[in-house]
């Protein structure tokens, strides 16, 4: 019996009055949908919590007549996505908080609160996370809804003045170790951190709002700007979602090229991290070496896509242009060889270094049990020993036909996260090799893509494994050529959420090492 059926049965037994409907997974990207009501939401959440579901995402859609809160759940053992919805009154939207069960929901709920004006009863700290003080309306609502005056005081989420005697220090937004413009407010006691609170939104670029203003085609450049180190993977998530939504078939060749380029991009992204992580620990030379290798990948990818960083290469139904077979395959093979040698060098330079080992071993330990509460994904979850990888769980592009293993760690400390990523580079190399071997010929793009995409009414959730974890895009279509609502589920967001937990009571240097080991990308978090 599959997971889905089991859940249906158990659910029906427990909740007689609530409907649970099976959704066509191929079309919508989730298996079950449940319509909850304010009264029974918490019970349903409890039900899911007991069955080891983790929360993928929580967001809101404004249907004008009502607001709909959408909760996505899944398990780490088996693919079983469940959409739970909750309709809210648009005038005074109030919902119960689920943050007591799922810690990560604290942030999601704050986000929903600031963008839609939804109140969550029982939320410990319902303040703004992204926006700044001057924004006087709820940006993602379809109509202009001003923020009530009473709420304005919530805008600045952090109030240090209340604690006179503590020592606060700002890490960021301009700080060498926060990888962009993350700001973390640290409360310190000597060298120790008492608590750390990330402040987000310094790079909030309104992607979700933009999506509502642009056609499907016009949104294409945006995903690449969200996660620039792994631009192609985000691009893929979006393109595949739209393809599924419109029912566009993709030729095999395009699938393989997508796989290969994505893996190249993954290596490039990991290399960027491989440089930045030791740099956080004070070693600057690996940075240069890693960029040197990365530069090789960029050369290959530039030859294919035309840009170095923010690729906008995949198109609905295929690719922007075909690869240049000889040079591409040649260069890639050369790169694979070179990279394998370099990995040995990195082992000598970084992995074996006693200082490095002492800095990362047994620091920032994440336990498996927390995976459910925080919903982190990618190398972070794999480091705890859970082999959860969208490429395996829900194969897309050509991953289904290529065999690869998933590296896992043991205890989930910084060292494990490091090792998992290093292994992933190796495995990506294998995948690329395999992909090149099997690369079929044929067209790189389907002909039948209409110039103006007008997908049928409905919604879809599509997830891929980006370099940092599960990246999902949820699109609601209303038959026009612009998405009605687009929501991005980004991995760094939930990965970062574990930081306050991990950094409590540790030395500042350890906290920074931990932050570096996540490989967060701020624009992705801020969107």
């Amino acid at each position: 019996m599959t997971m889905t059926n089991r859940v249906i049965e158990e659910f029906k037994a427990e909740f007689k009055s609530v409907d649970i409907t099976e959704a066509p997974y191929e079309k919508q990207g989730y298996h079950l949908s449940i319509e909850a009501r304010t009264g029974n939401l918490l019970n349903i959440i409890d039900f899911l919590d007991k069955r080891e579901f983790y929360i993928i995402d929580l967001f809101c859609v404004d249907y004008q007549d009502y607001l709909e809160l959408v909760y996505f759940f899944n398990t780490h053992r088996e693919l079983c996505r469940i959409k739970v919805t909750l309709k809210l009154d648009p005038v005074k939207p109030v919902a119960p908080t689920i943050s007591n069960t799922y810690t990560i929901a604290r942030w999601y709920e704050r986000e929903v609160h600031e963008f839609f004006g939804v109140y969550f009863e029982g939320h410990p700290n319902l303040t703004y996370l992204f926006l700044h003080e001057e924004i006087g309306h709820y940006p993602l609502r379809k109509q202009h809804v001003p923020v009530p005056d009473g709420d304005k005081k919530l805008l600045n989420s952090f109030r240090p003045h209340e604690e006179e005697n503590s020592f606060f220090i700002n890490l960021g937004p301009q700080h060498p170790s926060t990888h962009g413009v993350l700001r973390v407010v640290l409360k310190m006691d000597g060298e120790y951190l008492i608590s750390a609170e990330p402040v987000l939104g310094y790079l909030h670029r309104m992607h979700e709002k933009m999506a509502e203003n642009k056609s499907y085609m016009q949104f294409l450049p945006n995903p690449a700007r969200m996660d620039y180190p792994g631009a192609l993977l985000f691009n893929l998530a979006y393109v595949e979602a739209v393809e599924k939504l419109c029912g566009i078939e993709v030729p095999e060749r395009a699938k393989y090229i997508r796989t290969i380029t994505c893996e190249l991009n993954r290596i490039a992204s990991h290399l960027l991290w491989l440089g930045a992580f030791p740099a956080d620990l004070g070693a600057l030379t690996p940075f240069m070496y890693a960029f040197d290798d990365r530069e090789n990948i960029l050369d290959i990818l530039e030859d294919v896509t035309g840009s170095r960083l923010t690729y906008c290469y995949f198109r609905f139904g295929g690719l922007y242009n075909d690869i240049n077979e000889e040079t591409f395959i040649d260069a890639t093979k050369r790169f694979i060889e070179r990279m394998r040698e370099r990995l040995v060098m990195y082992d000598k330079l970084i992995t074996g270094n006693v200082i490095f080992i002492n800095r990362v071993k047994n620091i920032g330990i994440l336990e498996q049990g927390q995976a459910k509460k925080y919903g982190f994904s990618g190398p972070v979850i794999r480091s705890t020993g859970i082999p959860f990888d969208m490429r395996k769980v829900d194969p897309y592009a050509a991953y289904g036909s290529i065999d690869f293993e998933i590296p896992t760690g043991h205890i989930g400390d910084n060292m494990d996260r490091y090792m998992v990523r290093m292994k992933e580079i190796e495995i990506s190399l294998n995948i690329i090799e395999e992909g090149i071997k099997r690369l079929p010929s044929g067209p790189f793009k389907t002909e039948k893509v209409p110039k103006k995409l007008k997908p049928p009414k409905g919604d879809i959730y599509n997830a891929v494994e980006s370099t940092r974890g599960e990246t999902g895009v949820y699109i609601v279509s209303d038959e026009s050529d612009t998405p009605y609502r687009m929501r991005w589920r980004v991995p760094s967001y939930s990965n970062l959420m574990t930081f306050p937990h991990l950094s409590r009571g540790v030395l500042i240097a350890d906290a920074i090492a931990t932050l570096g080991s996540y490989d967060i990308v701020v624009p992705e978090i801020d969107r």
Binding site: F167, N170, L171, G172, P173, D189, E191, Y192, I194
Partner: protein
């Protein structure tokens, strides 16, 4: 007057060092243009206006290290005149007093080690 002559150089160098450091600052003062904005003189803190006190209550760890240091520093300095007059060969008495001295000193490290001064545990303050 041997000593005086020796330290005459030290004094002169020290004074010159002071002068040397002041002069470029004066030159810079004369040469540099100035731009003043609203926040130019605000203490730097990653671009955010700092809040709270910079005079922190510092952790006691450092202090204990400093305590042990002071014992060692003073005692090791006592070893210097000893080392100077340490004779080669014979007179094993000197060696014994050295051993006793060093062993007493080692007591401090052993004590601190045993007391866990050198371990920095993760502190969970609830």
């Amino acid at each position: 007057m041997q000593t005086l002559q020796e330290f005459f150089h030290v004094a002169v160098f020290a004074v010159v060092a002071v002068i040397f450091t002041i002069s470029p600052i004066i030159i810079a003062y004369l040469l540099a243009p100035r731009t003043v904005g609203k926040k130019t003189f605000v203490t730097y803190e990653c671009g955010i206006e700092p809040f709270g006190n910079a005079w922190i209550r510092y952790s006691v760890h450092y202090y204990i290290y400093a305590l042990i240091f002071i014992a060692f520093d003073v005692d090791v300095l006592y070893l210097f005149p000893i080392a100077l007059s340490y004779t080669k060969g014979g007179n094993a008495f000197e060696f014994y007093s050295l051993i006793v001295f060093v062993l007493i000193l080692a007591l401090a490290v052993i004590y601190a080690w045993g007391k866990g001064v050198f371990t920095w545990k993760r502190k969970i303050l609830s």
